[in-house]
Assembly symmetry: C2
Homo-oligomer: 352 residues x 2
Amino acid sequence: MAEMIRVPAEECRYLCSQAFERNGMLPENADRAVEQFILCDLLGIPTHGVLRLSHYIGRIQVGGINPKGEIKVDRKTSALAIVDGANTIGTVVASHAVDVGIEMARQSGIAFISVKNSNHFGANASFAWKACKAGMISMSGTNGGLTMPATGGKAQVVGNNPIGYGAPRKSGKHFILDFALSVQSRGKIRRAAELGEPIPEGWGLGPDGKDTTNAADVLQGFVLPVGGHKGYGMALAVDMLSGVLSGGAFSPHTKSQFFEANEPSGICHYFTFIDPEKMIGLDAFQDRLEEYCDWIKEQPAVDPNVPVRVPGERAADAYAENLEKGILVDANHHKRNQGLADGSVKGVIPKG
Amino acid sequence: MAEMIRVPAEECRYLCSQAFERNGMLPENADRAVEQFILCDLLGIPTHGVLRLSHYIGRIQVGGINPKGEIKVDRKTSALAIVDGANTIGTVVASHAVDVGIEMARQSGIAFISVKNSNHFGANASFAWKACKAGMISMSGTNGGLTMPATGGKAQVVGNNPIGYGAPRKSGKHFILDFALSVQSRGKIRRAAELGEPIPEGWGLGPDGKDTTNAADVLQGFVLPVGGHKGYGMALAVDMLSGVLSGGAFSPHTKSQFFEANEPSGICHYFTFIDPEKMIGLDAFQDRLEEYCDWIKEQPAVDPNVPVRVPGERAADAYAENLEKGILVDANHHKRNQGLADGSVKGVIPKG
């Protein structure tokens, strides 16, 4: 078992920024990139936090990501823009797009940003959180490496394209929703395969397109979309708003960050921001949202020891705890990140 | 078994408009309301088509819906508006909101409309279709009567809040997605209960909040959200964008169109429209979307006799067929609608 240790967020931030700067990023961009994945760790999403540093650095080192890519913003109207990520680190591209979008929404009440030529951007939750802190409602999504078949198909045609929603709450426990459009993550299926354990029906198909509970077969085959045709259609919609509408890469053209790590992955995202201040006023919106959340939490739970929750509350609790006690990191990963920061080890591309 | 007959869309349209006018609606509003639910029938969604006329008329007759409600548009910015439906028929309210939104998006590139004080609006697909015909990408959703519990809860806290996405295709077979956020509709569960048949695990919970395959128990209990916490969170997000953000009724305040039919239901919707012309140009967007759809359809199918599909193609095929041959209607319902049109029968509120 991995030994988990707590490391102050500030220390993780410093190490990661050092590693990016050492690999050619401008300090300003390195800090911005790191801010978003430290946020993932703080919010209790370690799968998208500092754990990823080695992969990202690895891709810079094999020439797949350009550490010096200059992000360009093409404003189409006062509420619409296309951001070209110039194939630099995805978290800095997305963070930049969020800043542009929030500024536009502050003026126009709403903004839609479609982003092309980016890379893996971590988790929607970290951008929703950033928007909430600015008093904005947000909706976002990203395309990604192909993992899912069409309904009735037996070829990978779309990624599990995660989506996110955020709304600012007065309590600071922001409403945050962030999930992939597959029933289950490949990570969980991989773990079952490693342990030789069966997986529940409905998680995936074998390479022949047939249902199976054999995890190894699913890894060779397909993960299934949540809700069947619902998740499949929604994953296409996400790619339509990001890959198709930005002029960037959509399913047939994206590259795998694992198997084609030395090529630009072409990943695309979208963000929508709405300023509640321009609708019924931020104050009124938040009072209503708080009433809603309070009402839900007053409802009876199936297990009285597990109270009903509202999306985002667990993340907000994790944020407070991790900020105070330090981020939970695998001791080996932390050591690896120290090596990436001082240049004594190289980044490693995971096997997918 | 019901005898299904084909009736020309024009004849259905005439009957429904007559029925609405006879019950106090202005001809212009009656036509607009009817246009949307005839569209549902044409698109192959008869559950949201002329079948509903009796229910809607019934609600007017018991004072739940105001046939003369005057819809008001409150423009907040050039891209944001709140529409007050004044408790008139939901399809006319939503149709009006769509027209406003499309016009705003034509100017600003994007528009977001939150709608309050409306009623059941039929199906998202009919509004997505309307937007596609105007060359617009659309996203929409509506809150509704409470049917689903929170994750881990045993009280109804949210509706199955259907969502829709649309994108115009050159072929006219528009990309249309429209689904409820429950695993299965109450309609299907009701049919199983009537037949005394068990339902699959995962469709619903009994009144005690425990899993059951007994359809009758689920009708007394809860239908489950698609993907568990994913569908639950998303249903809340839909209500946040419609009920909370419009200043209208959200979950604790909406009324059932079945059990509280004589009161305003307070249903709220939202619509987002994006003009692809303002992004990469409609032509380029459509060429890219067509390439995507063609590529998906070239992929191998699990059953070679059931080719892989793209969302909306079945609806577009149904549209062409039903327009040519007439809408498929239960003969008894058609007779009932004739009676509603000539005033010889009264509207009936279904039992939920």
